[in-house]
Symmetry: C2
Subunit: 162 residues, 2 copies
């Protein structure tokens, strides 16, 4: 467990904390800081199998290599583009596969674009309806209010009023 083991420590046996530091490994807190993924979420991603289980020190601390940070940043970027965990799982898979086709990646991305567009349209419809109602609401001390009337009315406004 000395030189030979140290060499193969990638996903390998536990090492000592100080040694890990010297070898350029990071605590989970440092990894969180460096990647923008909270320590909480790093553990979570590990627990659901999105990322490989981190190596540990003898004291059971997780340690992260530069490579691990790279993966975490990938995940972070994927999340900030709105991909779900499952989609990121697929993207990580493709990322690691040399035999991937860019068509596969593009398909995933465009599916997500479609999803985003659908959600955007839905929210725009809500916003437009509400903005319209708000425009017609005088917004003073009187209780009369088109907004409440719409909510209360229940007359065929489950859909757009034709």
């Amino acid at each position: 467990m000395s030189a030979a083991a140290t060499r193969h420590r990638h996903r390998g046996p536990r090492i000592e904390a100080s040694e890990a530091r010297q070898s350029g490994y990071f605590n989970i807190g440092d990894a969180a800081q460096a990647t923008g993924v909270s320590a909480k979420m790093i553990r979570h991603y590990e627990s659901i199998g999105l990322i490989q289980a981190a190596d540990r020190t003898f004291a059971n601390y997780r340690i992260y290599s530069e490579n691990d940070l790279h993966t975490l940043r990938f995940v972070k970027r994927g999340r900030s583009l709105g991909f779900s965990i499952k989609q990121i799982e697929a993207l990580l898979e493709l990322w690691s596969k040399r035999g991937r086709s860019s068509a596969q990646v593009k398909k995933l991305a465009l599916q997500h674009v479609d999803d985003l567009n659908a959600r955007i349209a839905e929210m725009q419809a809500m916003r437009d309806t509400l903005q319209d109602l708000a425009n017609r609401c005088h917004g003073d001390e009187r209780p009369d209010c088109p907004i409440l009337e719409d909510l209360a009315c229940a007359k065929g406004h489950d859909q757009k009023h034709p």
Copy 2:
């Protein structure tokens, strides 16, 4: 056992099922059908105190009056406009208050419009970035892919690039 339990008193004494039918009361299933709110969610809304606890028959079946259906439709409409449960709680409160000012309602609505606009903008930014990356991805059998490169790169693409 705080708010929900406190509100767990019914509005009237229990009556018999057939009598309830005759008096124009509805089962939860009928109420669900009539309002578009699932029976599950009606019970949930009751349990969290969003709506008053329904009256019951002797056999403990919930029964709903036309008035109750009106409230349920209000909630349904609010949800379909994207209001949160808490916001709907506030709207219901205002709806029931005669002394309300339309300004209060309008304020709530416009806050929600702002919220929607923020979320829309966020999703549009995601979509635009992704669409752009997808446009630059040839989408063929080769592994080279700007999308994966973006995700993997980690060079200052955490936010919009000004």
